[in-house]
């Protein structure tokens, strides 16, 4: 168990959509284990991986990625999703509203945050470990 005062951060990038491959499953399992071991876990959903944030996923035969994402958030994982990838795929509008970007959406699991690629780069520079999932 990692002591909280020395909590190390594991950054994980997911690059593949759920169900089309098992990368999302693997990431969720590793992330949950890392949380259980006392690591701070921060996840970046990039490209097609933003589909992991979708509400009302209902896989009959596959690993339930949506449920795993909710559980990771409940356990304290920080999940950030690529803003421009999410806009492109219709999850958010990202337009300015009262001086702030509008990320409200009924299509996105509560607790998922949005950031640009610079948010990901910031995470990369802070993290003690970096794990990459997907790419094919």
């Amino acid at each position: 168990m990692v002591e909280s005062s020395k909590k190390k951060t594991v950054a994980m990038m997911l690059f593949s959509a759920p169900f089309g491959s098992q990368y999302a499953d693997h990431l969720c399992r590793v992330a949950e284990r890392a949380l259980d071991k006392g690591y701070a876990v921060e996840i970046f959903l990039y490209s097609d991986a933003v589909h992991a944030q979708m509400t009302e996923q209902n896989p009959k035969l596959f690993f339930p990625v949506g449920e795993a994402v909710k559980r990771l958030i409940e356990k304290g994982a920080v999940i950030k999703s690529c803003e421009i990838c999410s806009i492109a795929r219709g999850y958010i509008k990202g337009e300015l509203k009262d001086g702030k970007k509008d990320y409200s959406s009924t299509k996105v699991i509560n607790g998922v945050n949005f950031c640009s690629i610079y948010g990901f780069v910031d995470l990369l520079s802070r993290a003690d470990k970096v794990l990459s999932f997907g790419g094919s």
């Binding site: 990038m13 690059f15 990039y46 490209s47 097609d48 780069v121 970096v130 990459s132």
Partner: protein, 120 residues
Amino acid sequence: MPKLVIEISHSPFGHENAYAALFAAMAWVSMGNEAVVLLRGEGVHVGRKGQVDPFKNIGLPPTEKQVTEVLEMEGRVIADRRALQMRGIRAEDLIQGVEVLDSGEISEIMIKEGERFLTF
């Protein structure tokens, strides 16, 4: 300076991978960090020069511009020699500044500098 190694193994245009990888590399080096982009397998096509206005022709941006920007910001872009040979691509077909190394040398970089390693 923190280092990031990014491996691209998909060609441009057919997949989003190369663009996503190069955007991450550009953001990383623009913040004063060091990045090494490895072009392996089909990814070597990312480093080819002379891409003919792909945005106009097929609605996708040229990786040539992105690679050039990474190089201009002092990032390294390295193509796998064997992957180039297998595809009949010569060193002179590559964007100026793209290095060509053997797989053993690339492995050394991954081991030595890959404290942050992303695959696309």
